[in-house]
């Protein structure tokens, strides 16, 4: 450009008044075209204040770069999308503002035009500002009323200066500002002009005059003009946002729109202002909105963008959509189809639904036995059946023996049920008068004779609420009398077999000598209850009602005491059985009842006093600074912090044994009569170790199992030395399996396996009873029950298949038994492998099973 264009000559630097020249204005001046038109080297870089930048000319650096371009040195900051589980990427909403420079944002200002508050005649801006202020205040201070203060309440007094002035001049809200005289004058002038124009004969301007709204309305001078309507009652009919006016900048379209709305017929003939062939129009300037756009200047500034003409499409789109919407809404309600989706005509996926089974009206949800569980069993007046020779087959004999024991123990119902169950089983032919019937009858009789009071297991239902003599005695505070001991004959194997179904009742009524808490009757009562619960498999929590006055910790302690005492009792039981004839000395207390009562109270008191004070010791970690302040050396210096001390009751239970162990052992020693234990003495019943629930839960079962296995190996090795012993063991096991399976099938609780008679085995192996016990060791009674159920199920499976096998080769008797055994064991192993994969934990729990089957196969091999 030539220099001559800049014709001003300045002397000195012109002083600009900042307030006069607003930033925006300056910028506009700078940008408007002047800068753009200049060549690059003439263009001036200005900062956001509008001052010239010197590109680091004075600071000694090159700072051209990003000034006046984008907001950062890097230009558009490249961004990578990162989103991790912890740092979720936010969904960024991009708006125009995210692409604008700072100065451009400033230029955009408050998102649009505003009236400055000074000239805010009608107070809209003031209201807006006040609202914003209130919002800001709201954020600053927490108020009692949550949420923003409603706008209606805080509307400011928005009378601007203009309004005030007008009011003073007599103006009222809703009245036109135009005064009548001026309006009159104006009208007169216009009339004159009209007349003048009419003279010139120009028609075009007349239109303009007609369009003037003021002219039309101001007919009456005294008419009160209401040109500031307070409310615009115009229903919203479009789908635009509130306040959006699509015709804001193009009012000429409004008419068209109106025309289209009214005369929808005229839609086809697009006599429009903007009808182009292509349906698109150039967005740039240079084309008047009203110009008929020719083909040649249609797309001068086309830069690849194709703008759909918004208006032309609007109407049909809208109708189409509403139609669709209405249709969809209908279907939506009916089928639950998403918008934009259609229901498939052929569905290849069906969810099959079955109606619940119909329950017959007379169904009662408990089982009724056809025969009463405790069938009247009059054996006393029955003549003893004749002596019968046992069947030559050994298995059969054992089966019969075991069955007889079971039936005598559990009632006739077993016989009936199993008879029904094993109709086709030749092994059970003896029930139906077949092979070995006589022997069975005789055996049954023998069993019954043997055990007159143990014949009947109290059925769980019947025994539920009956007050037994013992219970009554407990209530009355009586000491249970010493029960006459049954003389146990260790020779009678079947007896023990049957006996092992429940804990021998002898333990429930502990004789005086065996009372570990003799001096504290209340505690003794609780102990007895405990023993009862324990061996009857009842829930322990029952006892909590009895000792409601005790604290949790006391109860836990007492429980531990009880378990230790129970262990001691069961260990000392064999000794007891031999020493029953000698009256226990401790029980011989001859005191008058009156003093005794008093004594008991005193003793209880004393006992309580004796219990206290109890001392426990814990680790405690003083803070290092505390040690320092006490002038002591930190005992935990340099050690890692200990785990937080157990505070829950469960944990204290776990911890307590260490503290109480010695005490418990003492108690156990006290409780057990001092008699040297004899390993050779037969331990007749399964005396379980005191069930330690917690240990069972937390200790490693696998180890136990392995130990048990090892022991089983050892013991099986020693078994080899005595064939008879092994055989009897084997037989017992078979019978046990059978009985278990039977019990399982009948759905009646049958207690644990019979123990292997220890007497048959040479002593000196750690603890031979472990062989059997290991499976049930360390578990609570309930757990035992479930374990047994599992075992039993397995056993019954094996047994069933065995039965089917034996059906096929029942003819050859000579080696069928052995074959069967082989199969049995095989069956077992295969079954085991199956169950291995299925139930992992079962395997853990039944080391005894494995050992047993192994034993079986071993002894079998030896036989051949």
């Amino acid at each position: 450009m030539n220099e001559g264009d800049e014709d001003f000559v300045f002397y000195g630097t012109p002083i600009e008044r900042e307030e006069e020249m607003s930033r925006r204005k300056r910028k506009a001046v700078g940008d408007a075209g002047q800068m753009r038109s200049l060549p690059v080297w003439k263009q001036e870089v200005t900062d956001e204040e509008g001052r010239r930048r010197f590109h680091g000319a004075f600071t000694g650096g090159f700072s051209a770069g990003y000034y006046n371009t984008v907001g950062s040195k890097e230009g558009w900051t490249p961004q990578t999308f990162t989103s991790s589980r912890k740092n979720r990427a936010e969904v960024k909403k991009q708006s125009v503002y995210s692409f604008l420079d700072d100065d451009e944002k400033v230029e955009m200002g408050g998102h649009g035009l505003e009236t400055s508050s000074q000239f805010d005649t009608f107070g809209f801006t003031a209201a807006e500002v006040a609202r914003k202020q209130a919002e800001k205040d709201q954020k600053m201070r927490p108020s009692a009323i949550p949420g923003p203060v409603p706008d209606e309440i805080v509307l400011p007094a928005a009378n601007s200066i203009g309004v005030k002035l007008l009011m003073k001049m007599g103006w009222r809200h809703g009245h036109s500002i135009k005064n009548s005289h001026s309006g009159k004058l104006y009208d007169a002038r216009r009339e004159a002009r009209k007349a003048f124009l009419a003279l010139t004969g120009n028609n075009g301007t007349s239109d303009v005059v007609e369009d003037d709204p003021g002219a039309v309305k101001s007919v009456d001078i005294f008419e009160i003009h209401k040109d500031t309507p307070v409310f615009v009652l115009e229903p919203k009919k479009d789908l635009h946002g509130l306040g959006f006016d699509p015709f804001k900048n193009a009012p000429e379209f409004r008419d068209r729109k109106a025309a289209m709305v009214f005369g929808s017929k005229a839609q086809g003939t697009k006599r429009g202002l903007f009808t182009t062939n292509s349906g698109k129009a150039a967005p740039g300037f240079g084309i008047g909105a009203l110009e008929e756009s020719g083909v040649e200047d249609e797309d001068i500034f086309s830069s690849g963008f194709e703008f759909e003409e918004p208006y032309v499409e609007e109407e049909p789109m809208e109708t189409l959509r509403t139609k669709q919407d209405s249709k969809l809404r209908l279907t939506d309600k009916e089928h639950g189809v998403l918008v934009g989706f259609r229901l498939a005509t052929d569905v290849d996926y069906f969810i099959e639904r079955f109606p619940p089974p119909a329950i017959p009206g007379e169904f009662r949800p408990y089982h009724k036995f056809l025969t009463p569980l405790q069938a009247p069993w009059k054996t006393d007046d029955m003549p003893p059946p004749p002596e019968a020779p046992p069947p030559e087959e050994k298995d059969q004999r054992i089966l019969i023996e075991g069955f007889a024991a079971l039936v005598s123990r559990c009632g006739k119902i077993y016989e009936d049920l199993s008879q029904e169950k094993n109709k086709t089983n030749p092994l059970f032919s003896f029930l139906r008068g077949g092979n070995g019937y006589d022997f069975y009858v005789r055996k049954l009789w023998e069993e019954q004779q043997k055990r007159p009071h143990q014949r009947l297991i109290p059925a769980p239902a019947s025994s539920a609420q009956k007050l037994t003599a013992e219970a009554r005695g407990r209530i009355l505070g009586e000491k249970p009398l010493k029960r006459t001991e049954e003389t146990t004959t260790p020779v009678q194997l079947q007896y023990h077999l049957a006996d092992s179904f429940t804990m021998p009742s002898s333990l429930a009524g502990v004789p005086e000598s065996e009372k570990p808490f003799r001096d504290d009757p209340l505690k003794q009562a609780r102990f007895e209850q405990f023993i009862k619960d324990k061996y009857e498999g009842g829930l322990r929590s029952i006892s909590s009602s009895v000792v409601g006055s005790m604290s949790e910790a006391e109860r836990a302690r007492e429980r531990l005491d009880f378990e230790a005492a129970a262990e001691a009792l069961s260990q000392g039981k064999n000794k007891r059985s031999s020493s029953t004839l000698v009256p226990p000395v401790a029980a011989m207390q001859f005191v008058s009842s009156g003093t005794k009562e008093e004594n008991a109270a005193a003793v209880a008191e004393k006992k309580k006093e004796k219990n206290y004070p109890k001392r426990e010791e814990f680790q405690w970690r003083p803070a290092p600074i505390l040690c320092k302040r006490f002038d002591l050396i930190d005992p935990f210096m340099g050690k890692p912090p200990p785990p937080p001390r157990a505070r829950s009751k469960v944990e204290t239970l776990i911890i307590m044994p260490e503290i109480l162990k010695s005490k418990l052992q003492e108690a156990a020693a006290d409780a057990a009569p001092s008699q040297p234990s004899d390993l050779q003495e037969p331990d007749t019943a399964v005396t379980e170790r005191p069930v330690d629930l917690y240990k069972a839960i937390f200790s490693d079962d696998e180890e136990d199992g392995e130990e048990g296995e090892k022991k089983a190996l050892d013991s099986s090795a020693t078994i080899a030395e005595s064939k008879a012993g092994a055989n009897s063991t084997l037989n017992k096991l078979i019978a046990g399996d059978f009985l278990q399976s039977l019990g399982q099938e009948l759905g009646l609780a049958v207690p644990d396996h019979p123990s292997v008679p220890v007497s048959r085995k040479p002593s000196g192996i750690g603890d031979p009873t472990k062989l059997v016990e290991s499976s049930s060791k360390g578990k609570s009674a309930q757990q035992n029950a479930t374990d047994q159920a599992i075992d039993r199920r397995r056993a019954s499976d094996g047994y069933d298949s065995e039965n089917s096998h034996s059906d096929t080769d029942s003819g050859s008797h000579s080696d069928s038994g052995s074959k069967r055994k082989k199969k049995h064991s095989k069956q077992h192993s295969s079954h085991r492998s199956r169950s291995h994969s299925k139930h992992h934990e079962r395997r853990k729990r039944s080391p005894s099973r494995r050992s047993r089957s192994r034993e079986r196969s071993r002894s079998h091999r030896r036989r051949h």
Partner: protein, 300 residues
């Protein structure tokens, strides 16, 4: 009573001044002065031998339950219903620091031997140790193994002994890093140590004082006869460890023989509950305080 000849059974002085119940009275280290505190939210320093009121310390917002003074008589600590422990300067009577942290009323407070740590026991079932040497007002140790309100605390050179309503007397051995829990089976109201440091006297809420052997936790003797069922009351051993002194809710004072637990002296000391008993470290001199608002000095 021949055996009670040396016992302080004669009233020597009455220290009047507290408005309302006096909750605790304590001798200072050498026994020349005493401090009392009460429901009137004040601490008072007295010379009990001359019966002179020396100073009043006011700053507590609620009743003051316990007070203790350092062995050098320079600092006081007090605690009470306002859940704070106040650390006072004796001479100026200003509060040097307030230790906040207890969640509820503080029952007992003691300095350690060097006056560097204040240990407090609160109704919030915790024992807290506060550092007097640093500016921090945070507890340096919190023991919260108690199951109920901690009523009384006693410090030795290496141990913190605290008694709680849960029936335990817990000994926290700082040197050994262990906690000994002696469960007495009855809520413990107060503990006091014998002068030889071998025994702990625990006042239980079943109207019984129990003497425990500290090393084994054995119950050595039980003292009965007084009433102590619902008030926080003190008990102590005499300076010679020959007798056990304890107040009763009916205003009587009891002296038991330490060994055979017989009541050797019993007299009416106050008209109302004897809240606190303090024994002179060297002489046969005893202080008692009561709900009736008086502190009495007893001498033989």
């Amino acid at each position: 009573m021949g055996s009670s000849s040396g016992l302080p059974t004669k009233e020597s002085n009455v220290l009047q001044g507290h408005e309302g119940a006096v909750l605790a009275v304590r001798f200072n280290g050498d026994g020349n002065y005493c401090l009392s505190c009460g429901k009137d939210r004040t601490l008072r320093l007295w010379n009990p031998h001359r019966g002179i009121h020396i100073k009043t310390y006011k700053s507590h917002g609620r009743e003051v339950r316990d007070v203790h003074v350092t062995s050098d008589n320079a600092k006081l600590c007090s605690c009470g219903g306002d859940r704070q422990i106040f650390y006072w300067d004796v001479a100026t009577g200003r509060v040097i620091r307030k230790f906040r942290g207890h969640d509820s009323e503080v029952n007992s407070v003691k300095f350690n031997e060097y006056g560097a740590v204040v240990v407090s026991a609160g109704y919030d079932r915790s024992v807290r140790a506060w550092d007097c040497r640093s500016q921090s007002t945070e507890p340096i140790q919190i023991v919260d193994t108690f199951l109920d309100s901690v009523m009384s605390i006693w410090l030795t050179k290496t141990e913190i002994i605290a008694a709680s309503v849960d029936g335990t007397v817990r000994t926290f051995d700082i040197r050994a890093g262990r906690e000994l829990v002696d469960d007495l089976g009855h809520p413990v109201n107060c503990i006091s140590m014998s002068n030889d440091g071998n025994c702990v006297l625990a006042g239980c809420l079943d109207s019984t004082l129990r003497l425990l052997d500290r090393t084994t936790g054995e119950l050595l003797q039980v003292y009965k006869g007084h009433t102590c069922k619902s008030f926080k009351m003190d008990c102590c051993l005499t300076n010679t460890d020959a007798h056990v002194a304890g107040g009763s809710e009916d205003g009587y004072m009891f002296f038991w023989d330490l060994v055979d637990a017989s009541i050797v002296a019993k007299f009416r000391a106050h008209t109302s509950v004897v809240t606190s008993v303090a024994y002179h470290p060297k002489d046969s001199c005893m202080l008692t305080s009561s709900v009736d608002g008086s502190v009495r000095v007893w001498k033989p």
